[in-house]
Amino acid sequence: MSDENVILLSGVRKTFRDFWLRPTVDAVQGLDLAVRRGEVFGLLGPNGSGKSTTIKMILGLIDPTAGKVEMFGMSPKSLAARARLGYLPELSYLHPFLTARETLMYYAGLCGLDRKESRKRTGQLLAMVKLEDVADRSVGGFSKGMARRVALASALVGRPELLILDEPTSGLDPVSTKEVKTLVKALAKNGMTILMTSHLLADAEDVCDRVIILNHGKAVAEGDVATLGESLEEFFLAKVGNADEFVLADFLS
């Protein structure tokens, strides 16, 4: 891990507005964040805490209302910066009419790979995610877990320097979840920088070097996983709310 920042957010705010430009929600409020080269960084927080919005601002898909976002020292809208990036979205967004092989060939094309290289990389990745047998079936008919594996392979097809994983283990069974965690560790060992979000704190604890915890669009804690305490889950609950406050009595009576 080096001190070079791959991703840098300073004072970032995002306010969504309706059709009449009235503010509807402050999704992110003054967020500062730095992801260093070669580390696995976890973006944690409850639903609606602003994790996905933060990731979309890093990807240049949405513009921050205020503050500055940099990726590899460049604007996230820079094509040169995005050429070094792989992205796995929260839901496996795939073209249902394409087969698994065609999907990977399409994304290889978007990464600018030539046909020969695309074929080679596609074959390798299909073998890695164990989808060789169904490579020529339309992904529209795939189960959630299979679609997730195609999406993961798509994110890796361009051999990115930075991998952004939004809930990478969502929809996967325990065996596949373990495989993804092993993959993330192996990629990080090879020097890839990884930014991931997860609701599963055990997953984050297993693979992340550092984490930041968001709540209501603000950072409530940040640090090395090893120094946050004995259990990341207890630390997380202490920071973002207590599950014991969940009111069941009225409903059950």
Binding site: R82, Y93, F97, G109, L113, I164
Partner: protein, 293 residues
């Protein structure tokens, strides 16, 4: 270049896999076959009737393809989130929009080619009917053979598409669309009527000018309204353009017996290019200013 090509072909591929595209194509083929078949029976003038029906089918169906293609593909990209993933790659929003529109244009060209070739197939059928009648020394009954030839161009792709799907797991809609084009091509090369083809091409080129405008308008509105209001808005635009099209294409082309001076075609493209450019610029603006999520 590779990135743009990937988007163009994926978009055209998507539209060729779209059942609506196959339905519009088959409806247009049926129109181009049935309309002249009825007229042959009454008036004769095989080639002219076939050509007029082909042009009409191409116009109506072409507008439907230009309208629905961008709506379908942009709506799917923006609502299912695949646009997010594409734009997270080294692809600018401008090139994403332009390449997707070009993909729709490619699908329109395939549609137009299928109708044009089927028109030539119908004419070939009439030629066969004429040859049979001459051999027998009787009156030419052109509608039968031409009807049979052209209906084969519709039915055979569906049958072969179903067979390929059943035994080789090929995608039915995609196979049927490509087989329509293949069979129409095969049908058209028998006694290829170069003179008629030469007459058809300028008319088709002329009709493509307003079709491009409709396509660009539909793409721009689809990005702005995510395919919801786009259909209605684009339909209004198409309706506004149709009278111009009528003046430019049908009246002139048909009044001159299908012969069009090259100047007419060029003038049409010059007349429509500012409209196309304006809609493309609007689409580029819309995709660049909005959040993609």
């Amino acid at each position: 270049m590779r990135r743009g090509r990937a988007i163009v072909f994926a978009t055209a591929f998507e539209l060729l896999c779209e059942p609506v595209f196959l339905l519009v194509l088959l409806a247009a083929l049926a129109l181009s076959v049935l309309a002249p078949a009825m007229h042959y029976h009454q008036f004769g003038e095989a080639s002219r009737m076939a050509r007029d029906a082909g042009i009409s089918a191409m116009l109506v169906g072409g507008f439907a393809v230009c309208l629905l293609g961008p709506v379908k593909t942009f709506r799917r990209e923006l609502e299912t989130g695949t646009a997010q993933v594409a734009l997270a790659h080294s692809v600018s929003r401008t090139s994403f929009f332009v390449c997707k529109a070009l993909g729709c244009l490619l699908a329109y060209v395939i549609f137009t080619a299928a109708i044009s070739l089927t028109t030539l197939t119908v004419v070939n059928g009439a030629e066969i009917g004429g040859a049979i009648a001459a051999a027998r020394g009787g009156m030419a009954r052109l509608w039968g053979p031409s009807f049979a030839c052209a209906m084969s161009a519709i039915v055979l792709p569906l049958v072969f598409g179903a067979v390929l799907n059943r035994f080789l797991r090929f995608r039915f809609v995609l196979s049927a669309n490509l087989l329509v084009l293949t069979f129409a091509f095969i049908g058209s090369i028998y006694r290829f009527d170069g003179h008629l083809a030469a007459r058809l091409l300028p008319v088709l080129a002329l009709a493509s000018a307003p079709a491009c405008a409709v396509l660009a308008a539909s793409a721009a509105f689809s990005v702005r309204f995510r395919g919801n209001v786009a259909t209605a808005s684009s339909a209004v635009v198409a309706a506004l353009l149709l009278p111009i099209l009528g003046n430019y294409c049908l009246s002139d082309a048909l009044a001159y017996g299908g012969i069009l001076p090259t100047g007419y075609v060029l003038a049409a493209f010059v007349a429509f290019s500012p409209v196309v450019a304006a809609f493309v610029l609007a689409g580029v603006h819309f995709i660049n200013v909005q959040d993609v999520q």
